[in-house]
Symmetry: C2
Subunit: 227 residues, 2 copies
């Protein structure tokens, strides 16, 4: 199983790291971090990761993994990334989007008419690509596995491993990474967080949301023009 | 708040990435990844990270963070790392160990007579340094915050932020990273996993455990000799 994880500048590093930790522990799976070049890639809060392959050198994906973050908004408008994603999605056996990674999958047109999830602040934007937004933490539609925001990539990675390599393997990994989560207080979704917390997070990300929405609209217009 | 995260070769990258994602989102906190040199650091399953500071260039730690993995076993026997950790632990206001990171804290002698946690397969080894092993997912003793294995670093990072920057800030971060975890099946601890899974994980890591135990014994002997 060749697993290719797309990495671009300004991704959320935990969108990459959570699924990486789970997928890289499956015996026999080879994981590559695929970037435009082999230069170091800076994630949105300053942690910098080295790619292991470029788009040109990467092996064909049995599984394509697309993490999220504001960098993905730019990738939706980068023809090289859209072309690469479209080609790999076409031939991959599994496609796994984390957080806003589902927006890039959607921008290729591959999710049109399907259901997909994403970060709670962005998943409504999937509709612009003709995708039905799912409000669940894990959504599976055909070969497409899409998760909610950031940390939900860990839950979904275990689901992917269970479906592809068997539940026994997934449960061994869950135990090895001691994944019996216990957040110190309730929260983590708009439904489980106090209204004041939800409002504060929306307020903090107001500008980022507006910028994302504009890029999604442009990517959706380009998709329409290609059809 | 200056947060310094120690990174060495062959760490578990999610031990770094989970807490990084939480701590880096606190307004005003500056996070550095501190290594022996500025060369890229390869984690145990091939994801490679760039340090932002060396031990020599790093600012004094208000908070020192020590992730785990087999690389920490070697750091316990590296006088430069033990000296750096001892000095920073002495002056830091908070010390946060994830997974087997608590072994390096213990190897400096700073935890003697205290309680601390660690990965379920390694925490009994804390006793060799005169530390009482905690079997809880999060353990706080004075300024020392220690978590269980790998993913428990996310829970503990939220606890650390709540205690230091306030629960409001921690809950905003929890919502922003959509941390309402839902593992697809129960497990994650020896108590919640079937016996066959526990036995398989122990069998897989038998050699690593033996190597770690030998290094802990040597580090404990060195600590005794220094006293």
């Amino acid at each position: 199983m060749q697993v290719n994880i797309i990495i671009v500048k300004d991704m959320v590093q935990l969108d990459i790291a959570g699924p990486f930790e789970v997928l890289a522990r499956v015996p026999g799976w080879r994981i590559d971090l695929v970037a435009a070049t082999l230069d170091p890639v800076r994630t949105d809060r300053g942690l910098t990761i080295l790619p292991t392959q470029t788009r040109a050198s990467a092996k064909p994906s049995d599984m394509l993994v697309i993490p999220g973050g504001t960098g993905i908004d730019d990738a939706m408008l980068d023809a090289d990334w859209v072309d690469y994603a479209a080609r790999e999605i076409e031939s991959a056996r599994y496609v796994f989007g984390i957080c806003t990674g589902s927006l890039l999958i959607a921008a290729t047109g591959a999710l049109s008419g399907r259901r997909a999830g994403g970060h709670w602040q962005a998943r409504d934007l999937l509709e612009r690509f003709g995708v039905t937004p799912s409000h669940e933490r894990m959504t599976v539609d055909g070969k497409f596995y899409t998760s909610g925001g950031v940390t939900s990539g860990i839950d979904m990675a275990l689901r992917v491993v269970a479906d592809v390599a068997g539940e026994e393997t997934a449960r061994r990994i869950q135990l090895a990474i001691e994944y019996d989560p216990a957040p110190p207080f309730p929260g983590g979704t708009p439904q489980t967080s106090p209204r004041t917390i939800v409002d504060a997070v929306l307020e903090q990300s107001h500008m980022r949301r507006a910028a994302r929405e504009a890029k999604v609209n442009e990517a959706a217009a380009r998709l329409k023009a290609r059809r």
